[in-house]
């Protein structure tokens, strides 16, 4: 399967109005995060105490915070932290979940039971609790957040991959491969995992939205990226003290989190629909 | 005439899968509607039962007349009353006609209670009689069972009982035995045939199997790519088919004395509705095609729609 075919549903998802708006916002945030050093003349950690608490104006479009740092600049750099930490964590989680789920679902038996028990155990706790335990073990900071989010969503992807693999394992083409002499590794990597990928990637997309909230929550508690590195959660946390004096400090990062999560969900829905149409065309 | 289908054309969106289909069916008669998948036979069943709106289909020309009344002129509620009461439907998959969480007896009872206004006790007595007639052993025990507890053949017999319970005049059976085992298939087809004859009902039997047609039908309509290819009494059509497609369909089934290596099938495949060829739609696969076949549509005359019918065929 070539790249163009893989990306086709991602483009199809942009055709609906909701998909287009959501995709547009995500693109804007991602570009802003990547291009932050070139988009803004200010540094995210340059303090200017006399210029603190400015309302939005021509120099500072969204105003400044309690240390006089440009809010827009911090939002753009914050997007870097929030997006990259969430995406990398989910990436780790998906990869590990896919391998665990595939092995458990394909080989079954004692291994499957062991994986299922562990996964169900983490599944039965709220994600935030799992994440807090992980941060307590690893320690606060970017590494801790990555580990916390990665493990918090591991159960979800393992379960999904395992169920998919078990369904596809019964397909005749798998039996056909075996009748030709295919090894377990060949069947797993050539047939089972590629056919599991689309639903798992959609789930990963949607989970990234949740992960952004989780990352912001950990940041809000001061357990995420450590100052002066900005993250949306940490910005909101520092904004609570200035809620009435400068509501922008908490409002703008909050809006960013909300808009990004909603956009990811809307785009994910559009993606599901695009993939669904394709799979229906296939079975007919 | 119980059922008259006249020059029926059906469109779904941009495509016209049925064109100028016509046949009739009398009481006490079994008409086989035979064709490969994609020929439009199930669509015809939907048209006859007034269920075309389910798949966004529209009758664009022609009529379906049931007992003299044009189905297209009936309001939906009258159509609904007709279906079930006067027209029974038996589908390929019995589970689509059954409620998985209701006992068998209740599901058959409701048909005669609803359509004949019988009391609960009378309906149950009727159900038991029907099941026994359909040779279901221990009918009383089966009434207390749930659908999943029965075999496929048994379920299909229950669906036939449900169709018969309302004392319909017409039964439309769409591939009623395709999903079943051979010995069970034979039993069910025979039972259905017997009941239809005994009650003087009309049966429109939709199938892809010329063998089934030969064994139970009185007349047959051969459908190809949305048009009637040949129409007539079973005896004549099997003895002297006029349309090369009919001949080929019959020859697809090996029988006693078929020489090894003589089975060839029909070359090519049924065209999809978007790629219907001009002229006779069978001509690309036809060994007897002549230039005219790809130019003009052969009219249905003397029971066949062919420019170059087989020799010795009935006029």
């Amino acid at each position: 399967m070539n790249m163009a075919a893989a990306l086709a549903p991602a483009a199809t998802a942009l055709r609906s109005p909701k998909g287009a708006i959501a995709g547009g916002w995500l693109l804007l945030v991602i570009l802003g995060a990547i291009l932050a050093p070139w988009l803004t003349p200010y540094g995210y950690d340059v303090q200017n105490l006399p210029g603190a608490f400015q309302p939005p104006n021509a120099q500072h479009w969204l105003g400044t915070d309690e240390f006089g740092r440009d809010l827009l600049t911090r939002l753009l750099y914050g997007a870097r932290t929030s997006l990259s930490v969430s995406a990398v964590a989910i990436g780790i989680s998906v990869t590990a979940g896919l391998i665990l789920g595939a092995v458990a679902g394909y080989f079954g038996g004692r291994l499957d039971r062991a994986v299922t028990v562990v996964v169900d155990l983490t599944w039965s706790f709220p994600e935030i609790l799992v994440a807090l335990i992980l941060v307590a073990i690893v320690g606060p900071g970017v590494t801790g957040t990555l580990a916390a989010i990665g493990v918090a969503y591991l159960a979800q992807f393992t379960r999904l991959a395992r169920a998919q693999i078990m369904a596809i394992r019964a397909e005749t083409y798998v039996e056909a491969a075996r009748s030709l002499g295919a090894s377990d590794a060949f069947i797993l990597f050539r047939h089972l995992i590629p056919n599991t990928l689309s639903p798992v990637l959609v789930a990963a997309m949607l989970a990234t939205g949740d992960a952004i909230i989780l990352e912001a929550t950990l940041g809000f508690f001061g357990l995420g990226a450590q100052p002066p590195i900005p993250s949306w959660g940490a910005m909101m946390s520092s904004g609570t003290a200035q809620l009435f004096r400068a509501p922008g400090i908490i409002l703008f990062p909050g809006l960013c989190v909300a808009a990004t999560v909603v956009a990811i969900n809307l785009y994910g829905d559009a993606l599901v629909r695009a993939l669904d149409i394709r799979s229906r065309a296939r079975t007919h | 005439m119980l059922l008259e289908v006249e020059n029926l054309s059906v469109t779904i969106g941009q495509i016209s899968p049925l064109e100028g289909v016509g046949f009739s069916l009398d009481r006490g008669e079994i008409l086989g509607l035979v064709g490969e998948s994609g020929s439009g036979k199930s669509l015809t069943a939907l048209a006859v039962t007034g269920l075309l709106p389910l798949i966004d289909g529209r009758v664009t020309a022609g009529h379906v007349r049931f007992a003299g009344r044009d189905l297209a002129a009936l309001p939906p509620c009258a159509l609904r009353a007709l279906r079930g009461k006067r027209i029974g439907l038996v589908t390929q998959n019995p589970m689509t006609a059954m409620d998985p969480v209701q006992r068998i007896g209740a599901q058959v009872d409701v048909m005669s209670r609803l359509h004949l206004g019988l009391s609960a006790a009378a309906a149950r007595a009727r159900t038991l009689e029907l099941l026994t007639r359909l040779r279901i052993p221990e009918a009383a025990a089966v009434c207390d069972a749930y659908p999943h507890q029965l075999s496929g053949g048994m379920k299909q017999r229950i669906v036939i009982a449900m169709a018969l319970a309302a004392e319909p005049e017409l039964i439309v059976a769409d591939e009623p035995t395709t999903a079943l085992d051979v010995t069970v298939q034979a039993q069910i087809i025979q039972l259905l045939g017997e009941e239809v004859k005994r009650r003087g009902l009309g049966l429109l039997l939709i199938t892809h199997d010329m063998g089934v047609v030969a064994q139970v039908c009185d007349r047959v309509a051969v459908l190809y790519a949305g048009r009637i290819a040949e129409l007539g009494p079973v005896g004549g059509i099997f003895a002297r088919p006029a349309h090369p497609y009919t001949r080929a369909l019959i020859d697809c089934i090996p029988r006693e004395g078929t020489a090894p290596g003589s089975l060839t099938g029909i070359p090519g495949a049924v065209p999809s509705v978007t790629t219907y060829p001009l002229g006779c739609r069978f001509h690309p696969r036809c060994p007897r095609a002549r230039p005219i076949c790809s130019a003009t549509v052969p009219p249905l005359l003397n029971g066949h729609a062919c420019h170059n019918p087989l020799e010795g065929a009935d006029g």
Binding site: M1, E171, T172, Y173, E175, A176, R178, S179, L180, G181, A182, S183, F186, R190, H191, P194, N195, S279, A281, R282, T283, H284 | E36, R135, P137, S151, D181, V182, T183, Q185, A186, Q187, I189, Q190, L191, H208, M210, G211, V212, V213, A214, Q215, V234, G235, F238, L249, C252, I253, P254, R255, E256, P260, G261, L263, T264, G265, I266, P267, A269, V270
Partner: protein, 325 residues
């Protein structure tokens, strides 16, 4: 011609369902004590209804599932004793064509990928031109090589399934109802293709089917199965059957000739549950000729010198054998 390519001896497979939710553990014999010689160049038809064990038998022969008893010899080697690794090179010589042409092809594989898969699996290079040659062999256009399965019709998909089975030039094909989900006109095409390939490539077939009429046309000998056991073996498909079940199968087939219309003596009685077979003959519950002997003692399969084998206490005399009109 006379050498057996595949030999089955006492082949059995039991499936166990563990106890769950208050239901006791139970087990069924899907295939019971099947012995068979498949000669080089023969086409053996295995016929029976759903649940008779014919598909399980097909998978046991290729060792896609493990037997619980008995052996399979392929060209002299006991393949039931081989490890999966040792089995792999032998798999080049045997292949299977599956019933469902839809689920037997990976939707993500292009047609060329499907045909290259056998070589990849075996770690062999794909000979240049082999894909085109295979497509031509089964009557598909080489121009289709880049297409995906969903762009093919059912008949074309089944041709592709056959081409995949032929990729490594096997000697032996197991055909598991290869035409059961196709239209009759396509079914006849596929059977004609299989006949041509048999003659051109000198293949040996094990043909699984529920259609006795088709098996009688296509096969050189017939094995009839009922609920896991072989009940009759006909060395010559033209011979009239003697087992009451085979006769019933024959009478149930719909002959496309209204002149040969007949009233069936439908089988009465229910098919017993495979988890709870009666002690005697499994067919006794539906057999018109069943006696107390049949209900209490299972008949054994006895062969005569002509290669005909029968498991029945009360077979009709050969002269009066149930020849159909």
């Amino acid at each position: 011609m006379a050498e057996p390519l595949v030999t089955l001896r006492g082949l059995s497979r039991r499936f166990d369902t563990p106890a769950a939710f208050g239901r006791p553990a139970r087990s069924m014999m899907a295939v019971r004590d099947v012995s068979l010689d498949i000669l080089c160049g023969a086409t053996i038809g295995v016929v029976g209804e759903s649940g008779c064990g014919k598909s399980t038998l097909a998978r046991l022969v290729l060792r896609l599932i493990e037997p619980t008893g008995g052996t399979v010899h392929f060209d002299g080697a006991d393949i039931t004793a081989l490890s999966a690794r040792a089995m792999r090179p032998l798999r080049q010589r045997m292949a299977m064509v599956f019933q469902d042409p839809y689920s037997s092809l990976d939707p993500r594989f292009r047609i060329s990928d499907v045909l290259e898969e056998p070589f990849r699996v075996q770690g062999l290079p794909v000979p240049p031109g082999r894909i085109t040659e295979l497509l031509g062999l089964v009557g598909l256009s080489p121009a289709m090589a880049g297409n995906y399965p969903h762009q093919l019709s059912g008949g074309q998909r089944q041709r592709l399934g056959i081409a995949r089975a032929l990729a490594l030039s096997p000697d032996f094909l197991v055909l598991d109802e290869p035409t059961a989900s196709l239209d009759v006109s396509i079914q006849a095409q596929i059977i004609a293709l299989l006949e041509r390939l048999r003659a051109e490539l000198g293949l040996t077939y094990l043909f699984i089917s529920h259609d006795l009429g088709l098996v009688r046309y296509f096969c050189s000998s017939i094995v009839v199965m009922y609920l896991g056991s072989v009940v009759e073996v006909l060395a010559d498909p033209a011979l009239p059957p003697r087992h009451p079940y085979t006769s019933a199968l024959m009478e149930s087939s719909f002959i496309p000739d209204p002149a040969a219309r007949r009233l069936l003596a439908p089988l009465t009685g229910e098919i017993p549950s495979p988890y709870n077979l009666p002690p005697g003959c499994a067919f006794a519950t539906r057999c018109p000729a069943a006696t107390d002997l049949c209900r209490h003692t299972a008949p054994t399969l006895i062969s005569d010198t002509g290669g005909h084998a029968l498991a029945c206490h009360h077979p009709p005399e050969p002269a009066a054998g149930g020849a159909t009109p």
